[in-house]
Amino acid sequence: MSVTTVMLVGVGGQGTILASDVLAQVAAATGLDVKLAEVHGMSQRGGSVDTVVRFGEHVHSPTIDPGGADHLVSFELIEAARWVHWLKPDGRLVVNNRTIAPLPVLIGEWGTPTGIEAALAYEGAIFLDAEELACEAGSPRSANIVLMGALSFGLSFETEAWRDVIARRVPPKTVDGNLAAFELGRKACREGACEL
């Protein structure tokens, strides 16, 4: 079996690290070799962040290069655009339809980029409003798990494996909300809203 690479990108503080850990744990529970690469520290202060999860029979490198991801899940629109060339030409692109203005935009040094959604649609993006679905699940802070639900539709892991890991990994009080968030993210894809 070859190695599958999933890349999660977003803005520091959006919960990409927890999401990548959930994915890696699911792959490990399925008996696969797993490697994960993330960066802590300065970039976490509202900077652009990326984590890479790779799984398969045997994984060597924790990191990849542009064009190396089978799946790209972006927690934010501008970051999706920034990282889209890291996705393989036939890769699957899941994008949270939300913009977080970076500092140069906030202070007016840079205009709000336009046309990103159309450009990403051209790249085959599957769009979701993860925050809205998270609110619907009754767990506003679980947008990251909504996105894992959307990602899960494109991977072959059993839903039960995801549910087990989520229940183990999120704070006890938020288990139900996060499981609901996962379902809503997955359902959004199943119902064709995000069919590739």
Binding site: A19, G41, R45, P66, I107, G108, S139, R141
Partner: protein, 585 residues
């Protein structure tokens, strides 16, 4: 035991614990911080944050002298601070096994420079081990203590960002308690004055010879013969990039990179047609192999920044895969001070004073970026105070602009006190601002001598910064809440006007420490004139709406009131928290 997914840092902590380590110490620094944060949760280990890496290493040396196994952790630049004890340590050797973990940051994800810590091996004559994934990190750390005891030499375990913050599957085991050897007085071993050190230096060569033999039989060093037309000598996580990029090439993966196993390297060299090294940062292996007289070919592998499978492959002519076109013309997203960060108030005031600000290392270094743009230098931990003094005695910045040093609470504990002493001793006139946000923030909230809590979470005496600076001889000391902009400006102006060393302690907790925020603020569009004053605070919760007027993201606003104070039109008003959409779990 089942396989568990652990980061390199978690695996190092686990390995140390299994080896029966009794003492863990260090100073937080990305990417090394989580080692002690994990070790402290394991039973039977006394773990402490030290004020800096030099003290941390000295504590570990004392524990080793007492016969216990000791672990000390730091980032690459931390060993610069700890280099004084480090350079004498191979001479004395160890009591209980002593392992120094140094985490390098190729690519400078969160550092001021790149350093290749393998160089400390031959420089300090200390054994160097380099794990290539989490599983090896656990096993190497576990075995490093016994190796240190056997050789009577400390072991430097070199990690990098991708090892420390990468995760992989490991098999955790049980702890084997280490029976400490009782302390026995030996001036010949532990008192490094010339008479004894000269003898220990000779003895060190004997111990290094034994270390070379260990390197020849090191089980973490592996020769893998595949296509022998290309032979690659490599180490650490770079080995994984090589395997990914050049799966057919033969490899010699070195587990111990000082001393090098010359016999095994020569043997490998004799089996391959072309011999190269692939390594991150310095040509450490390449230079050593050349010095051995081996015909090592130079390669196009970059020596700056972090490597990747693609970069390694490209250096050997591998074709890069077809990629999508990169989207250009996107706004960059640099890291920034958090919404409600109390540091912002200080830099807002310093900018309006047109101060020359000598900076330091912490979250507040982000104030160097637009729109605050209120920092002139950042060199190393504690540099702000000395550099401000230097500018002052050189006649100032060439204008009437005041020179102000800015340093965080943890950085002040780390290396700031000696700078203050120097300023007072030499009759300096500089102003020093201590940004006391009650925590070591940038590395993820570690306690320090000024927070009143230890690493384990126990209450500790909260050392009073004001009393410390007064005791160091500073007469002009003011304490302000930096969230109150006017009092902060007034205090800074008075401090700068003072004819002598002055200190302003800007004391307010990190915005991320606060759990119960007051209600957020909103902009009254009728009153907003789009003047941009609040925008220039560079708060992530404030942006320009389409009509150029300000707009506040209530999901991010923590109600710090700084923008309310800069608004001349009273346009920023209290609101109810309408929606509680956060930004991820």
């Amino acid at each position: 035991m089942a396989l568990t997914l652990l980061s390199g840092n978690e695996a190092i902590a686990q390995g140390a614990w299994e080896a029966g380590v009794a003492v863990g110490t260090g100073y937080p620094g990305t990417p090394s911080t989580e080692i002690l944060e994990n070790l402290v949760r394991m039973p039977g280990v006394c773990c402490e944050w030290a004020p800096n890496e030099k003290v941390a290493l000295e504590v570990a040396i004392g524990a080793s002298m007492a016969g216990a196994r000791a672990l000390v952790t730091m980032k690459h630049v931390g060993l610069n601070v700890a280099s004084d004890p480090f350079m004498a340590l191979a001479y004395t050797g160890v009591g209980g096994g002593l392992v120094i973990v140094v985490a390098d940051d190729p690519g400078m994800h969160s550092s001021q420079n790149e350093q290749d810590s393998r160089n400390w091996g031959p420089f300090g004559k200390v054994v160097v081990l380099e794990p290539s994934d989490s599983a090896e990190a656990l096993e190497m750390t576990r075995s490093a203590f016994a190796l240190s005891e056997k050789l009577d030499i400390p072991v430097l375990l070199r990690s990098t960002t991708r090892l420390s913050h990468g995760k992989g599957l490991v098999e955790p085991g049980r702890r084997v308690e280490h029976q400490p050897v009782s302390y026995r007085k030996s001036t010949a071993k532990w008192v490094m004055m010339p008479g004894m050190a000269k003898l220990r230096r000779v003895d060190l060569d004997r111990r290094l010879a034994a270390a070379r033999e260990e390197s020849e039989s090191c089980s973490f060093t592996a020769e893998e013969l595949r296509d022998t037309s290309l032979g690659i000598v490599t180490s650490g996580v770079v080995y994984q990039y090589v395997r990914e990029a050049l799966p057919e090439a033969s490899t010699l993966k070195l587990g111990m990179t000082f001393p090098l196993p010359e016999g095994r390297i020569r043997e490998f060299a004799s089996k391959v047609e072309r011999l190269v090294t692939v390594e991150e940062l310095d040509p450490y292996l390449s230079m050593n192999l050349k010095a051995m007289g081996l015909a090592v070919e130079d390669t196009a592998v970059p020596h700056i920044g972090e490597l990747s499978p693609g970069k390694v492959g490209a250096a050997f002519g591998a074709e890069s895969p077809e990629t999508r076109e990169a989207m250009t013309d996107l706004p960059p997203r640099p890291p920034m001070l958090c919404a409600g960060c109390p540091h912002r108030g200080v830099f807002q005031a310093l900018r309006s004073m047109d101060a020359v600000v000598t900076g330091d290392i912490g979250c507040y270094t982000l104030a160097a970026l637009a729109p605050l743009s209120a920092m002139d230098s950042c060199i190393d931990m504690g540099a702000s105070i000395g550099t401000a003094h230097g500018m002052g005695i050189a006649g100032g910045p060439g204008s009437s602009r005041p020179v102000v040093a800015v340093i965080g609470d943890s950085t002040f504990a780390h290396s700031g006190l000696t700078g203050v002493m120097n300023a007072v001793f030499n009759g300096g006139k500089e102003t020093i601002v201590i940004l006391d946000n009650r925590i070591t923030a940038m590395t993820g909230h570690q306690d320090n001598p000024f927070t009143g809590r230890t690493l384990i979470g126990d209450p500790a005496p909260e050392i009073d910064i004001e009393a410390v600076v007064r005791a160091l001889g500073v007469a002009d000391v003011r304490v302000v809440n930096p969230n109150l902009l006017k009092p902060t400006s007034t205090a800074l102006a008075a401090a700068v006007a003072y004819e002598g060393v002055s200190v302003v302690i800007a004391k307010a907790p990190c915005a991320l420490l606060t759990k119960d925020y007051p209600d957020p603020f909103a902009v009254d569009e009728d009153l907003c004139t789009a003047c941009g004053d609040c925008i220039r605070l560079g708060c992530s919760a404030i942006c320009r709406a389409k009509d150029s007027k300000a707009s506040i993201d209530i999901a991010q606003c923590v109600g710090c009131r700084q923008c309310v104070q800069v608004c001349r039109y009273g346009a920023i008003v209290r609101t109810g928290r309408a929606c509680d959409i956060g930004s991820g779990a």
